[in-house]
C-alpha cells in the first residue's frame, strides 16, 4: 500500500518574539542524517535545534538499503527494533549477464551477530522512526518549516537567518551541522564547491507495488533481454513495494522518461505483466564527489552535503550514518571542554578517508556498469564473457560493492597475534554474550575490554571483562590467550595489547581524546 504522508506540526519558534539564547548545536536538515545526528548528540548530553524547510518525510523511497553497521547505529539511537520489524532482511546478491547468473555474494556468512547484513526499508520509514524517537527526547528541539536563508560564520560560532510561515528570525549557535543533503543550501551559502567526477549516464528509478513472491535478494542484470544492452537492478521493500533501477543512457530525456506512459511499458518488460501500481519515479545521474574539507570553522558538513556517491553499493545513507557515528562523541567532547579542536580535525580526516573509500568503490562499479566506448567496454564485456567460464572472473564482475564500515588509519598500539578483523581503526566486532550482545555493553564512553586478564590498577576509563566464548575467542583473541582492547565511544577500536600495561593504556586513552 502507498505510504501515508502525515505532515509534522509547525510550531512558531520562540525567536519570532524575542532573541533566543545561543545554542550549542543547530542542525540544518531533518533527513535521516540530521535526525540521527540530533539523537546521537543527545546520547552524549548535548542539546540541539533541528531546522527543516519542509514538514514531511522524504518523498519516494530514496535510500533503501541499510547496512549492518547502520543497524548497529540505529540500535544505539533506539530505532533498530522498529526498522528490523518493518524492513526486509537480506544478505544474498545475485548478478546476471543476460539470462545466466555469473556471480553471487553472501554478505553475512557467519552467525553470532545481533544485526543482519542488510535490510531494505524506504527512507520515509527511517525518517518517521527517527522523528518519533527524537520527539521523545527533551534535548532535541525539532522545528519544521524553518528554512535557513543565510549563515554568518564567525570565530566563536555562526548566526543563522531563518524564515518561517510567521516571518523571519535569527539563531546563534556554537556549531552548525549541515545535514541538508546533496544539494546542500548551506554549502552554497558558504560558496563551497564539490570536487570529483560526474558520470555521463542516467538511471531511471521506479518504485512499484505488486503482489509477487520474489525472494529477499538483490538482483542485478547486465544486458538483460528485457532491457537490451543496458543494466537493471531489483530490490524488494516492505509493503509489496519493489525498487527497479534501469540504465537509460546519457541521451535520455529525464522529463520524458519520468512520464507514466514511458515508464510503465519499460516496467512491464521487467516484471512480465501490467498488474502493478507505479508508486514513485525519478531519474538521476551518477556523481562521485566531495568537499575537500568537511569542517569549516563552526560549520561542519555531514552526509550527502559533504560527499555524494553513485547509488550501487548503498554507500550514501550508510556512509552518512558513519559520519554521524564518528562526529557525535567528538563534538560532545569539544563542547564539554574535554577535548580540543584536534578531535574535530580527526572527524575531517577519518571521514574524508571513509568518503574516499566509498567514492573509489562506487566510481569503479559505475565504470564497470557504464563503460566508456572503446577499450573500457572491451574489458568489461570480456570480464562478463570469462565470468561464464571461470570462477576468478566472476568476482571481477562489479555491480556494486556493498557498504562496509572502513577501517580508519589510526596509529594505536597493535599486536600481530590478534585477529586482523579487530585491528585498531576497525569497528569492534559484535558477539553474543549470555545476557545480550557485546556491542550493547560498550556504552557511550571510552571502554577497556579485557579478555582473560585483569585490567591494571588506575585505568581511567570503564573496564568491561568479556567471557571466553567461541565467538569472543575467534573475534578478539585469535592465537592469543589473553588481550585487552581500548574502544572509542563510536565502537571503533583505538588500541589493543596482549599484555596490559597501565602506562601504555593511559597513553592510548590520552591519544584517543586528542584524535590520535
Amino acid at each position: 500500500m502507498a505510504y501515508d504522508y502525515q505532515p509534522f506540526d509547525y510550531v512558531p519558534p520562540p525567536g519570532l518574539n524575542a532573541p533566543e539564547a545561543k545554542k550549542p548545536v543547530v542542525i540544518v536538515g531533518a533527513g535521516p542524517i540530521g535526525l540521527a545526528m540530533a539523537i546521537e548528540l543527545s546520547r552524549h548530553g548535548v542539546a540541539s535545534v533541528v531546522l527543516d524547510d519542509n514538514n514531511v518525510v522524504s518523498v519516494g523511497s530514496r535510500a533503501i538499503c541499510w547496512s549492518k553497521r547502520s543497524l548497529e547505529i540505529f540500535d544505539r539511537l533506539g530505532i533498530a527494533e522498529k526498522a528490523l520489524e518493518k524492513g526486509v532482511t537480506w544478505q544474498v546478491g545475485r548478478t546476471f549477464h543476460r539470462n545466466q547468473e555469473v556471480f553471487n555474494f553472501d554478505l553475512l556468512p557467519e552467525a553470532g551477530h545481533k544485526m543482519p547484513a542488510f535490510i531494505n526499508l524506504q527512507q520515509y520509514y527511517v525518517e518517521q522512526f527517527l522523528v518519533e524517537r527524537a520527539q521523545e527526547i527533551p534535548l532535541i528541539d525539532l522545528r519544521f518549516k524553518n528554512k535557513v536563508v543565510a549563515i554568518d560564520p564567525g570565530p566563536s560560532g555562526a548566526i543563522l537567518d531563518i524564515e518561517t510561515p510567521d516571518g523571519p528570525y535569527a539563531l546563534e549557535a556554537s556549531y552548525v551541522l549541515a545535514c541538508d543533503g546533496a544539494r546542500s543550501p548551506v554549502r552554497s551559502m558558504l560558496g563551497l564547491e564539490f570536487e570529483g567526477e560526474v558520470f555521463e549516464e542516467r538511471f531511471l528509478i521506479a518504485d512499484i507495488e505488486m503482489e509477487a513472491d520474489f525472494p529477499s535478494e538483490r538482483h542485478f542484470w547486465f544486458e538483460p533481454e528485457f532491457h537490451a544492452g543496458q543494466s537493471a537492478l531489483l530490490h524488494k521493500q516492505p509493503d509489496n513495494i519493489y525498487r527497479i533501477d534501469l540504465q537509460l543512457g546519457w541521451d535520455a530525456n529525464p522529463e520524458q522518461e519520468m512520464q507514466p506512459e514511458v515508464v510503465i511499458p519499460r516496467i512491464m518488460k521487467v516484471v512480465g505483466h501490467d498488474d502493478f501500481r507505479l508508486d514513485w519515479v525519478s531519474v538521476y545521474t551518477f556523481q562521485c564527489r566531495r568537499l575537500a574539507e568537511f569542517v569549516h570553522g563552526p560549520v561542519i558538513f555531514v552526509g550527502d552535503s559533504a560527499h555524494v556517491v553513485s547509488p550501487f553499493g548503498a554507500r550514501g545513507g550508510n556512509g552518512g550514518l558513519q559520519d554521524v557515528d564518528n562526529l557525535g562523541w567528538k563534538l560532545a567532547a569539544v563542547l564539554e571542554g574535554r577535548a580540543g579542536d584536534r578531535l574535530l580535525a580527526s572527524y575531517n580526516r577519518e571521514r574524508g578517508f571513509g568518503a574516499d573509500e566509498n567514492i573509489a568503490n562506487s566510481a569503479r562499479a559505475t565504470k564497470f556498469m557504464t563503460p566508456g566506448e572503446g577499450i573500457e567496454r572491451m574489458f568489461r564485456d570480456q570480464v562478463l564473457h570469462l565470468a561464464g567460464k571461470t570462477s576468478f572472473a566472476r568476482g571481477w564482475v562489479n555491480s556494486g560493492r556493498l557498504s562496509r564500515p572502513c577501517t580508519y588509519p589510526v596509529a594505536g598500539p597493535d599486536d600481530p597475534q590478534l585477529p586482523v578483523e579487530a585491528r585498531p581503526g576497525a569497528v569492534a566486532p559484535d558477539a553474543p554474550l549470555s545476557d545480550g550482545w557485546l556491542l550493547n555493553q560498550l556504552g557511550g564512553d571510552a571502554v577497556l575490554v579485557t579478555l582473560g586478564l585483569a585490567a591494571p590498577d588506575g585505568v581511567a576509563c570503564r573496564v568491561l571483562d568479556l567471557p571466553a566464548t567461541s565467538e569472543t575467542r575467534q573475534r578478539y583473541l585469535g592465537r592469543a590467550e589473553q588481550a585487552c582492547y581500548l574502544i572509542r565511544p563510536d565502537q571503533v577500536i583505538a588500541a589493543r595489547w596482549v599484555d596490559a600495561d597501565a602506562a601504555a593504556i593511559a597513553d592510548a586513552l590520552r591519544a584517543l581524546w586528542k584524535g590520535g
Partner: protein, 61 residues
Amino acid sequence: MSLTTTPNLPEHDTFYAELLAAHRGLTEAESHALNARLVLILANHVGDIEALREALTLAKS
C-alpha cells in the same frame, strides 16, 4: 591444470581501475600495443608454457 582460474588476486577491483587508467587517453592502436606488451610481460612472469597454453585455449574459447 597448471593454469589458475580460481580467485587469486584479492585486489582485483584496484587492478581493474589501474588497468583502465593506464589506457586513458590512448588511441585504439596505442591501446592494442599496451595490451600486447602487458601480455608479453605477464607471460614471462608466469614462466610456465603449459599454463600459458591453457590460457591461450581458455581465451580463445
